[in-house]
């Protein structure tokens, strides 16, 4: 049954896409009038609505034929950015050149986006955060789940843009814009030039291939200045790992080669002199290293909580000054990931791009995240935990880190008015919809 519904949604979605691109607003109304008159006028003896039906059929048939007259030679170039942010308007320029001999009036530009329809497995795994508020029919059919998935995968709806009078062999520059609604990759496959038929009902389309990808970064909140506590810790590997972060490189002594020493540390002159490998020894590196741990175990129906957690993580990643320290971003996807930001390592934009692609974890247990964090405990100066719940495993993680004496900032994201019970006062609870207020209190 769900397979059937999925196929049904796919077909209807494709049909809807075609309808919205091909028909103008007046054309869609004519189409609605066609259906309504067909229903009302099904019996030609009972009503005269069948005359309305045939007239609208005539109108649409003529309009479709009229749209076939749209021919032209255009060149289109899009100057779009590579990054955008959820909730922030993004605009870019499009250059349209008419390389033909005819002038054009009433053109529109439409962005072609990659097919946003989800796969069957995605559809089956998707949940509806307000499912319990929907009626039994909606819950069973799951159209809202489908619509939500499509909107999420589409990232943004890009409105069409009118083109001014385009003389022959001339070029116009247009500004198009959109406001991303969801993080991730917004894939643009091309640009279509549309022109309605003379009746203004049906549009002729000329598609141009122009692939481009915009990475939509997570929404970010304003944060107060966060002073991360903690002391400098010994960093195994020193500056080779952390570039010039921490103390500067300082030669200490020479010693005999031990298996595992990097070749670049061999002192070749002494090697030649004494006949056995000798390596240079440097002063150990000590600097601050903080962990930003993102909980990806939300469970079904808690997408909005997870999205807010990603936004909070992005806000912290972009606010924390990593000029004098390192910031490890830890989370679990199909495996445990750790990305390090700071001088010589990843930049803030790179961390945000990584966060743009973070997905919920359903393959592993929470213990994997715990292992990943505790495995780095020796190097860490402090730890920021962004948690999606306050249950046993999470409490255990927090207690373990506290037992190590590691300074902690714990943020628990919760649904509105559903703050978990028994949370200690020093832990901040951020409610969805009031995240900014919650962060301001940090």
């Amino acid at each position: 049954m769900k397979h059937f519904l999925y196929l049904n949604f796919r077909v209807v979605s494709a049909w809807q896409h075609w309808l919205m691109r091909r028909f103008t607003a007046a054309g869609r109304l004519a189409l609605a009038a066609l259906v309504a008159s067909a229903v009302v006028g099904v019996d030609t003896n009972q009503t005269m609505a069948y005359q309305v039906f045939t007239f609208v059929v005539g109108l649409l048939a003529v309009a479709v034929c009229g749209s076939l007259l749209f021919k032209g030679r255009f060149e289109v170039r899009r100057l779009a950015p590579k990054l955008a942010t959820v909730g922030e308007p993004c605009s870019y320029q499009v250059q349209v050149s008419n390389v033909g001999d005819r002038a054009f009036e009433g053109l529109s530009l439409l962005e072609d986006q990659a097919d946003p329809r989800p796969s069957l497995s995605e559809f089956l795994a998707a949940s509806d955060p307000v499912g319990e508020r929907r009626n039994a029919f909606d819950r069973a059919v799951g159209y809202h789940r489908w619509a939500r998935l499509v909107a999420r995968r589409r990232r943004a709806a890009i409105p069409e843009q009118g083109v001014p009078h385009l003389a022959s062999r001339s070029e116009v520059e247009l500004r198009m814009g959109f406001t991303p609604e969801h993080r991730g990759s917004l894939r643009l496959t091309g640009i279509t030039i549309a022109r309605s038929d003379p009746l203004g009902l049906f549009r002729g389309l000329l598609a141009h291939r122009a692939p481009h990808t915009v990475t939509v970064l997570p929404r970010r909140y304003r944060l107060p200045a966060i002073g991360l506590p903690g002391r400098r810790m010994y960093q195994h590997g020193g500056v080779t790992l952390a570039s010039s972060v921490g103390d500067s490189e300082e030669f200490m002594s020479l010693r005999d080669y031990r298996p595992g020493d990097p070749l670049k540390r061999i002192h070749w002159k002494n090697f030649a002199r004494v006949g056995k490998p000798v390596v240079k020894e440097y002063q150990d590196e000590f600097f601050e290293r903080h962990a930003l741990v993102l909980d990806t175990y939300a469970g079904r129906g808690r997408d909005s909580v997870f999205e807010e957690a990603v936004s909070v993580a992005a806000s912290l990643a972009s606010t924390i000054d990593t000029q004098e320290c390192l910031l490890d971003l830890l989370f679990v996807g199909n495996q445990a990931y750790c990305y390090t930001g700071g001088r010589g390592q990843l930049r803030t934009e790179n961390l945000l791009e990584i966060l743009a692609g973070v997905q919920l974890c359903s393959e592993h247990e929470f213990s994997l995240l715990r292992q990943s964090v505790l495995g780095r405990r020796v190097q860490l100066s402090s730890c920021i935990l962004i948690l999606l719940a306050w249950d046993g495993p999470r409490q255990e993680l927090v207690q373990s880190l506290r037992a190590l004496g590691l300074p902690l900032l714990v943020l628990v994201i919760a649904e509105p008015d559903r703050a978990p019970a028994g949370i200690p006062d020093w832990i901040s609870v951020l409610e969805v919809g009031k995240i900014q207020q919650g962060l301001a209190r940090l």
Binding site: A26, V40, G58, D138, P198
Partner: protein, 661 residues
């Protein structure tokens, strides 16, 4: 999409003309178009729109319930559509007199009100064009069959589409629109003919089968089906002052020629009956005594219908405004408004009608041998017709039984060379009424007595709920009209058990369906004709809307006009948001010259000036921008003269721009 001025009013007047409710339609049109003239508006919230939409839904439910009860399904669907413009009036009035001039989507879709706030729920739609379409469809539902309907629809559609045409295509638009009108005209005539042809091909499965009788042709189920399908739907009611002592046969049509499996009526043209003085009575015969009277309530879904009448009907009364026709075979057809109707039948003993013709004695060649054999067995030939009739009647009563099941599906099982009737007479000796009636007619003819095949209903069931006799579709019956003693007499040779057998097929939900049918019957009796009551409904809705409007007007009117006439300044908060300059901005944005967010107007004009096709118009706009700035941001604002100058200047500029484009 805003509708052009007066378009909605014109569509409403068209609907009123077609629905015979011109006066209410004119008032509604004045109410909605008056919004263009009046300067005050209500500040309606999304909740107010939702309540108004709920009111419309409630009105629609009431109207639908009313028409379902009064005209019954499926005609109620069309009847409800007919009154949609009046039902939707509260919502349209709310839109027309609201500050927003549009309706939030959440008001139209109940589920959107309960869910997380999304951009879609806040989205506002202008219902002008959809309402225009509703008016046109409602006019079509009135079904006046006027030849002016199509030209008016085309003209109104042209009016509606004219502002949506592509710029610079005036001549082409006219040609294409004319072409569309011609295509529509040609195809609607063809579509109607197609339906008539289709109906002719498949008469009975389009429902209403028990209701429709073709006076010239009757297709029987002889030899073609296994189990006879029986429907429980009540098709007519009969009120009789005296209780019926035996089943009353209500005759609808007779046929004289059998071409297996169809009975045909040849040379039986319907001719109009002249009504008696007053136009409410028609006399079928003048020489018969009047003995009894019954009142029959039934439905004429298509207006034209064959009347069910007792044998020997002399006079018909009621059916105001109807045209009544009859033919020599006793068929009486009335042409009147579609819907429920009642008529009285005054009847005597035997049916009059034309004397028998040669066709009433004709026996099909295929059946002749079988019939001859049986006549020889019975030996009635040469006896008086009355005796022959008695012999034949006894023959069927003693040797045959009733059955709704025939083993011979599609002729299978019938011995080669034998017809279904032959098989029935010689072998199976079991069948339903069509077998009995057909076999009896043919046997009587073979024995030398003129006979015809008659169809109609058998009235036997007295409803305890209603206190009247009810006739269901499964009570449809066929019998014989036989001629002797100078008159046509009804002869029913079907075993009387047929009624009890078919009673067994009544569904378990029958009582509920009967209750619904009774309610609609009572409603129809109480309300009279549907059209008249619908007109009252339009007036009631209009009064209701006016009352609500008055309440709202008293409560929260917000003036957008310069109320303080002669006052020096406009000082309210958010002043200038209604500046006509935004029309310029919108128009230019549609053409691709959109102003960026936060871009100053003058910078914007400077930017687009490089590519603007009519740069000579921009300096004028620059002067108007100064007024617009003052209107928008100056705390002192504009005085009345300056405000007028801004408004007129912008409109003039838009006209010039349109002409230049």
């Amino acid at each position: 999409m805003k509708t052009p001025p007066l378009l909605i009013g014109a569509a409403l007047l068209f609907w009123g003309w077609q629905a015979e409710a011109l006066l209410p339609a004119a008032v509604i049109a004045a109410l909605l178009e008056g919004a263009h003239r009046l300067q005050w508006r209500w500040n309606l919230s999304a909740a107010d729109f939702s309540r108004t939409a709920d009111l419309c839904t409630g009105l629609f439910v009431l109207v639908t319930a009313y028409v379902v009860f009064s005209v019954g399904l499926p005609h109620a669907v069309v009847a409800a559509v007919k009154w949609l413009p009046a039902v939707l009036l509260p919502l349209m009035a709310a839109q027309a007199y609201s500050m927003a001039q549009a309706v939030p989507l959440s008001a139209l879709f109940f589920t959107m009100r309960r869910q997380e706030p999304t951009g879609l729920a806040d989205f506002k739609v202008d219902l002008g064009y959809p309402y225009f379409v509703v008016c046109i469809l409602a006019a079509g539902a009135a079904n006046t069959r006027s030849e002016w309907f199509y030209p008016c629809v085309v003209a109104l559609a042209g009016w509606a589409l004219w502002p949506r045409r592509r710029a610079g295509t005036l001549g082409l638009w006219c040609v294409l629109f004319g072409l569309a009108g011609a295509v529509g005209y040609a195809s609607h005539a063809g579509l109607h003919q197609l339906q008539l042809a289709f109906e002719g091909a498949v008469v009975d499965w389009l429902s209403l089968s028990g209701q429709r009788t073709d006076p010239y042709r009757s297709s029987t189920d002889i030899g073609t089906i296994g189990e006879l399908k029986l429907f429980d739907h009540i098709v007519l009611r009969l009120e009789s002052p005296q209780p019926l002592d035996r089943p009353l046969l209500l005759h609808r049509a007779s046929y004289d020629q059998y071409a297996s499996p169809t009975w045909l009526a040849r040379d039986a043209q319907l001719v109009a009956l002249r009504p008696e003085a007053g136009g409410h009575g028609w006399r079928l015969r003048s020489d018969a005594p009047l003995l009894r009277r019954v009142t029959i309530w039934t439905d004429f879904p298509r207006g034209t219908g064959v009347l069910a009448l007792p044998s020997g009907t002399v006079r018909i009364e009621g059916l105001a405004g109807a045209e009544v026709k009859h033919n020599r075979l006793g068929v009486v057809q009335a042409e009147q408004r579609a819907g429920r109707a009642s008529y009285d039948a005054v009847f005597g003993t035997a049916e009059g009608g034309d004397p028998p013709r040669e066709a009433d004695m004709r026996v099909p060649r295929a059946e002749a041998a079988t019939l001859e054999r049986i006549v020889a067995q019975l030996g009635p030939r040469g006896r008086p017709p009355r005796e022959i009739v008695a012999i034949v009647e006894r023959y069927f009563r003693e040797k045959f039984q009733y059955s709704t099941y025939q083993k011979t599906r599609g002729g299978e099982g019938t011995p080669i060379g034998r017809t279904p009737i032959g098989h029935f007479l010689l072998a199976s000796r079991a069948g339903h009424c069509e077998y009995f009636a057909t076999a009896t007619v043919l046997l009587l003819r073979a024995a030398g007595v003129p006979a015809r095949y008659a169809t109609g209903f058998s009235v036997q069931e007295l409803s305890r709920l209603e206190g009247v006799y009810v006739v269901r579709e499964r009570h449809a019956h066929s019998w014989v009209r036989v001629y002797f003693d100078g008159a046509w007499h009804d002869l029913d040779t079907t075993p009387p058990t047929w009624f009890a057998v078919e009673q067994q097929s009544a569904p378990f939900w029958g009582p509920a369906a009967d209750l619904w049918s009774w309610l609609s019957y009572r409603m129809a009796r109480a309300g009279g004709a549907e059209g008249g009551a619908g007109g009252y409904a339009a007036w009631i809705m209009l009064l209701l809307v006016l009352y609500l409007a008055w309440r709202l007007y008293r409560k929260q009117r917000v003036s957008v006009a310069n109320e303080a006439r002669g006052a020096a300044a406009v000082t309210r908060a958010g002043a200038g948001r209604d500046s006509e300059f935004y029309l310029v901005e919108k128009r230019l944005a549609e053409l691709g010259y959109a102003r960026d967010t936060g871009e100053p107007v003058r910078s914007w004009l400077g930017r687009i000036g490089r590519t603007f096709p009519h740069p000579e118009l921009l300096p004028v706009l620059g002067k108007l921008v100064a007024l617009h700035y003052r209107y928008r941001f100056d705390p002192v604002g504009l005085d009345a003269d300056e405000r007028q100058r801004l408004s007129a200047g912008i409109m003039e500029w838009l006209d010039q721009f349109k002409a230049a484009s």
